[in-house]
């Protein structure tokens, strides 16, 4: 993600800058995440079907043929 450590700092007033700790100068910025649901989004070449439960996935039935990938 884009590293913009100066961003929040720029919003602070002179007094603000004096009052914040050094760690505020090195914040990790990222776009707001979508609403959290613990699912494994498909990035591997497998379909997102089956028993999805936060970390693993197993097909419950096997009715469909292999995709032509």
């Amino acid at each position: 993600m884009d590293e913009e450590p100066e961003d929040l700092l720029e919003r602070l007033s002179a007094e603000g800058r004096q009052l914040v700790p050094v760690s505020y100068r090195f914040l990790h910025v990222s776009p707001l995440a979508a609403a959290t649901v613990m699912r494994l989004v498909v990035s591997a070449p497998y379909r997102a079907s089956g028993y999805v439960c936060s970390a693993f996935r197993k097909p419950i039935s096997k009715c469909c043929s292999q995709d032509d990938v």
Partner: protein
């Protein structure tokens, strides 16, 4: 502590030996890496030895290959050079789950007459976490809504929907369905005029249209890499259990309560029997402990702990321990046979499980 480091696989990268080749199952990143059986031997029989010691064992005939092997493993982050292997134990592969039933299939066709509220309530009592609903017929949006409504409360974590195409099942309609029912994790529309894969939405719900017809339980039991489950939980379950049938309960389109809709044996009918009473029958769980190590051919296959098996459609329907008929992989040649070959050779006899 040894003075020279030894190579150690990360505990989540588990090697599995096959007849012709082996595989390292990366259970954390959910991928497979093929390795020659020679490397499997090095990683298992000679784990804990330094590279120099290993080269010595092979009379220095494979020094270059051995270096390449470790290079390969490092490149894919499957292992590391370790000063003290005693600090890194292998991963515990015991499996356990609090639910009496972890997953269920519910089949629906145009003649079905299910009491969805009763069925889903009882599944909930059994702790069921994942449900697959298979509608073999042309499904209406209203019908799908009815089924999903019945599943609104309770402990289900995911619902996979398989339904037959109807013009009203547009991407927008299905997206709305998914938005309205948080537990939906995938929607597959079969018998569609054209195939289409929609990108997963914000919550990861995938909608797919397939031209293929899935119009009866006889379509099930397909074995191919698209259905491999490469994760710790399934791998552990597969050590001692049948990864398809273990803690599974199914209700076929006629309401019969079974291990799976493709098997003949019924343990009651959901209309008047409770799922609980079916589960309580002594032989309901008989098939749950048949794992791949007991099955012919599969026991020699490198994919045996990531493949989910099928006990309904078998190469030899009379032998409970025979290989799934729809698997075209031959671990003795490490080749997937072409599907056409399968069909031409006594295909009609092979299929048919027990229905």
């Amino acid at each position: 502590m040894t003075s020279e480091p030894v190579f150690a696989l990360f505990a989540c990268c588990v090697p599995v030996k096959g007849a012709r080749r082996s595989v390292v199952c990366d259970l954390q990143r959910q991928s497979l890496h093929f390795i020659p059986n020679g490397l499997y031997e090095i990683l298992t029989e000679h784990s804990g030895k330094t590279a120099a010691e290993i080269k010595e064992i092979y009379d220095h005939e494979f020094d270059a290959e051995i270096d390449e092997y470790f290079e390969f493993l490092l490149r894919h982050e499957l292992g590391f050079w370790c000063d003290d292997p005693a600090l890194f134990p292998m991963i515990d592969l015991t499996w356990e789950a609090p639910e009496r039933i972890t997953n269920a299939i519910l089949d629906v066709d145009e003649r079905s007459d299910h009491d969805f509220a009763k069925i889903l309530g009882e599944l909930d009592d059994l702790g069921c976490k994942a449900l697959e609903v298979r509608c073999f017929h042309r499904s209406s949006l209203a019908e799908l809504r009815t089924i999903l409504e019945a599943a609104r409360r309770g402990r289900l974590r995911s619902i996979d929907l398989l339904a037959g195409y109807a013009p009203e099942l547009t991407p927008e309609a299905l997206a709305a369905l998914a938005a309205d029912h948080q537990r939906l994790s995938s929607i597959v529309i079969h018998s569609a005029p054209e195939s289409r894969q929609l990108p997963p939405d914000r919550r990861g719900v995938a909608v797919t249209y397939r031209t293929e017809a899935v119009d009866s339980p006889r379509c099930c039991g397909k074995i191919h890499p698209g259905y491999f489950a490469i994760d710790l939980e399934t791998f552990a379950e597969g050590q001692k259990h049948n990864t398809c049938l273990n803690r599974k309960l199914s209700i076929d389109a006629r309401g019969e309560i079974k291990n799976c809709p493709s098997l003949a044996k019924s343990f009651g009918n959901a209309r008047h029997d409770s799922l609980h009473s079916a589960l309580a029958q002594r032989d309901f769980a008989a098939l749950w402990s048949i794992n791949k190590d007991q099955i012919a051919v599969c026991k020699d296959c490198e994919f045996r702990y990531v493949c989910t098996d099928c006990r309904a459609y078998l190469v030899d329907p009379g032998d409970l321990y025979s290989k799934p008929s729809k698997c075209t992989y031959d671990p003795y040649t490490a080749e997937w046979r072409q599907p056409a070959e399968e069909r031409t050779s006594a295909g009609a006899q092979r299929e048919g499980g027990s229905r």
